[in-house]
Symmetry: C2
Amino acid sequence: MQNSPIGLMDSGVGGLTVLKEVQRLLPTEKTVFLGDQARLPYGPRDAAEVTTFTRQIAGFLQRQANIKMLIIACNTATAAALATMQQELTIPVVGVIAPGSRSAVQTTRNHRIGVIATTGTIKSDQYRQNILAKDPNNQVFSLACQDFVELVEANDLDSEHARSVVKAGLTPLLDRNIDTLVMGCTHFPLLRPLIQEVMGPDVTLVDPGTATADMATSLLDYWNLANPSGVRHPQGDYYTTGDVDRFNKLADNWLEETPVRAHHLPVADLIQTTEVE
Amino acid sequence: MQNSPIGLMDSGVGGLTVLKEVQRLLPTEKTVFLGDQARLPYGPRDAAEVTTFTRQIAGFLQRQANIKMLIIACNTATAAALATMQQELTIPVVGVIAPGSRSAVQTTRNHRIGVIATTGTIKSDQYRQNILAKDPNNQVFSLACQDFVELVEANDLDSEHARSVVKAGLTPLLDRNIDTLVMGCTHFPLLRPLIQEVMGPDVTLVDPGTATADMATSLLDYWNLANPSGVRHPQGDYYTTGDVDRFNKLADNWLEETPVRAHHLPVADLIQTTEVE
């Protein structure tokens, strides 16, 4: 099992921001990533449906790659499905919300924290609950920015259009005097420069991917699951249910070790694979 | 269980360096610390005896404080007893060697890593094995510095005598061209300024306590064991089997929140408590 890969899943390419941190902290671990772009976005879907999708993907990654750990590199799927997946799977399952909340609590000085995320994540209220559980002195300002996801999936990261969408989206947070902003959707770190520009230099942006990779590292060590081969595996395996060329292009821009050559996985196979069992 | 304290144990005051990191990262967690100074040093004892001591202390902390997690804040006891304690206890048990090894591997650039520790830890060879498992390209230079422990326990951290002991102890490492030195005994970070002075500014000192506190944080989040009260508990509970005044003085120097008022715990009670069960 130590030689098995770590599986990561997302509704699309956003999870690559978490993958990048995992590859940085754990260069000797194999990784396998699945972006469910054909069914993107997850944000507006209800929790039961997102849980079904997550279960299908987890099943595929276990059968295809015998993953030793699953990282739900998607805030919407974490909010909807983490607890269920932790119950159903025998491997460790890591989500992004608890680590992201921890980072935010450790970052803020004035105890005013913004959270931007998809509609589904904001609706779940889990960031606010997690942050207040760790320190009720905080005030949390939550804001759904669903349309940021489309910008990222379209690889539109720095156009004038992107700038205006980001600016309009963040406006409700500008007068809240927050000093910390959680990028509570794994797509959003790809828009970091624009988000920072709009929020100004006094707001620290928290990328939950960093703390999530950190948690994965701790759990591998705790269960003695780290790969002892010592061979670097900078290049992971990639699957997308969507368009391969678009996936590869975005992954190549974002990840350091390239080129990425994703496999196409039809959604029908994903569903069938799970039902066959 | 979420409101229960985290237990930390050491042969003496060295574990306070880990406690300090835990209190920094997890200010809302209650802590209870036991320093077994009456039976110090652990370093020269055999593994079976150290395991017995660790079991006695774990039993005391569970009965006295219903701890929700045990951090073995002692490298010697981690090397001797971590695996056994993880099997015997139903709460998470965290040691310092795996996190410390991870830190070292992530720190080194030239893949030449020094490890200084007690005789027992060096003899266990666990740092070398852990570091090589994570990356076999590393070379590990291990060195027992047992007499550093006495300096710290005597609160002799910056005298000329301390300087000469540290210098003599580290001399075998000076021509090894290491760029990273693991302080593989929790007492040693109290000697950090002297160790840094002797090793020179190009050697990065790794304190496993930082990564251990990080692992504890991840595990609390993973099992949903973090204290949700949000109340700060900067001041822990302290027990020593040794001299209370000496313990308090050293703890007051090292920890930020003071004064520390340790309870004295006779070794006889520690043994009896365990045997009574």
